[in-house]
Symmetry: C2
Subunit: 213 residues, 2 copies
């Protein structure tokens, strides 16, 4: 399985999600580091040639598997779940799967895209922090209530799921932008528990070889 390559950047939340899933499932992979900060707001200008050729959006992560390049973290995560069903990140029951995916979507479609760096930059240097806090706060208000209804030890019951894979990087962003996590006790407690797990430690931005680039 060493034919799996991940284009990743240590600070990219979406890359972080994929790293968690790869480590959780114990999948061997090679990292190719893409320094987003050297590029123009997530454009592909700074990327390795091979990456530019296969990834028209220029965004990380991208997963190369059996010579095929797969874009977008949610699609990559579903693919990993289908190809590597051991240590599943989705329950078996369809309604339960939908509830897990809904939590992942609240983060991946409602919260994270709006506080992504390229959006913050476009909002303006003077608005960045206030903007990020506003949308994370707004999103976490709803998310806290949703997760309160599904949580056990983690976001959905007592097993690690895709919901948790999305939650931890989003809490990372929240803390970075000064969101008061004590307003979201369910999310904060789950985040703390997940942070102790091996896969989450290995996937953490500060544990990456390209950290601080």
């Amino acid at each position: 399985m060493s034919d799996i390559k991940l284009y990743t950047y240590w600070r990219s939340s979406a890359s972080w999600r994929v790293r968690i899933a790869l480590h959780h499932k114990g999948i061997d992979f090679e990292s190719i580091f893409v320094n987003l900060l050297k590029g123009e707001q997530a454009s592909s200008r700074c990327h390795p040639d091979e990456f530019k050729a296969t990834n028209p959006t220029g965004l990380v992560p991208a997963l190369v598997i059996n010579g095929e390049t797969i874009l977008e973290s949610p699609a990559i995560l579903e693919l990993l779940e289908e190809l590597f069903p051991e240590r599943p990140l989705l329950p078996k029951d369809p309604i339960a799967r939908a509830k897990v995916r809904a939590i992942a979507n609240i983060i991946g479609c409602d919260i994270h895209p709006v506080q992504n760096l390229r959006v913050l930059k476009y909002a303006g240097q003077d608005r960045m922090a206030e903007w990020a806090k506003h949308f994370i706060d707004l999103g976490f208000e709803g998310l806290e209530k949703v997760v309160k209804g599904t949580a056990g030890k983690y976001c959905f019951g007592d097993e690690v799921t895709l919901a948790d894979v999305f939650l931890v990087p989003q809490i990372g962003n929240a803390v970075r932008w000064g969101v008061d996590m004590s307003k979201f006790p369910t999310l904060a407690a789950i985040g703390d528990r997940l942070g102790e797990l091996d896969a989450f430690r290995k996937a953490h931005p500060t544990a990456q070889p390209d950290a601080a680039n």
Copy 2:
């Protein structure tokens, strides 16, 4: 199957996606109309009590099935695919599925959330049109290249997939905000072909009973 209820709003792109899938699969459903314009930027304040009780995010669409409320259009669409496998919206091959999902994600995670009405309002009345055009243009530039590599008659080969379900409402937004679709000939041609299909006609905002509310 008349125990399926969809909380929907005619202008909501995410509701539009779910309507397309329901019609495509020929699933009977009851619509419950939520007038987002009467509420505070996608808050739950204006919503029917039942909706408020079951949907902490206050966003549409929400699907009620067998008494369970499922939030978030991508999660709802995956659930419909799992419960109603006829007239599939995902191919069988995992890599092909991932490519279809990636196209859906480029729209659902990168483009649409950033030009959503609540974000445009927060950007400021004077920036709305320019903001929406900027991010749709940026997103469609990458998407046009991606879809050029996968398209047949539709976004991925010659069958309607989840990618098409996401594309049509996004083109609707693009046109609404004055994006020049002639810059994206592959996407525009696919959109035109999809627009002729029965499911897409039935799901169109202007065909909804709550249109113009």
